[in-house]
Symmetry: C2
């Protein structure tokens, strides 16, 4: 195991953790009713986006071969758009699930080797991975961390208009 | 030079390039007047965000010790919020600058070693870097790439309401 490789992989894990924390901080910032609003006219609500982020992060368990989703009841929120969702999303419950799943993922990640990170994720076949070796677990984590930032860019619109944009 | 380290660094460069391309694709998708609109009521316009992304990426040259900004006239757009900007932003010109600076950065990046990437960026002093070795160039690139995604999450609101959110 090369020290530089370990350092770079750790930087990506730290980046993912920092993005998680930014989401947590944002959802602890306002009164609950603020998150029920749409981030822009006709767009997703804050609470939908929280449920979406939980559902997408929870999907890392099966993609990484680390077991099943912790909260399969939230898989309906995995889509990018809030349409026909009938499951009741409770903000307090979502925040607890967000914390619990990120803690569990972080504990799993801490055990892994560079070889594990650079091996295929389970949504890519062995044959396809042989042709596209960048389709590894590290790339999934990088892309999921950045996906949080994509939605955080939208969530900040729930701030007062006078706040920084 | 370790092969795994090189691979992981290349994945981050590829991630940055993919995010650049997503921005380019977005700004070639609609008629020019669409980008003059605000992404949400009272928020930045599409064209401001394009100028902002150009200004922020252009800032990578001095931060990485690769020379001066190519377009210092656009540095006024480096702030997160569109207030008191008097410089006229021309979309065609911005798109050309975006392409040119990303091509020049990519050419510079292709020459660098893992040691260069893991060394400090120039906004951190040697003393601070000794205490916080993660404040390296690779981390800046990671964070800037994700910053593009943060604003792309906002820019997609310029799409027709019926489009995916």
């Amino acid at each position: 195991m090369n020290e530089q490789t370990t350092q770079v992989i750790q930087q990506i894990i730290t980046f993912w953790e920092a993005n998680n924390k930014n989401i947590t901080t944002f959802f602890n910032k306002h009164a609950d009713e603020v998150y029920a609003k749409q981030v822009a006219p006709g767009r997703n609500s804050g609470i939908y986006l929280m449920a979406h982020l939980v559902a997408v992060s929870d999907g890392l368990f099966p993609i990484f071969g680390l077991g099943e989703r912790l909260y399969p009841e939230l898989e309906v929120f995995a889509g990018e758009s809030e349409t026909n969702i009938t499951y009741p999303a409770n903000l307090t419950e979502l925040k607890a699930k967000w914390e619990a799943l990120n803690a569990k993922l972080a504990a799993e990640f801490a055990k892994q080797t560079p070889e594990w990170w650079l091996d295929r994720h389970l949504n890519v076949s062995e044959a396809d991975f042989a042709l596209e070796p960048h389709r590894n677990k590290l790339n999934v984590l990088l892309s999921r961390a950045s996906h949080e930032n994509y939605h955080r860019g939208q969530l900040v619109f729930l701030n007062e208009q006078s706040a920084s944009i």
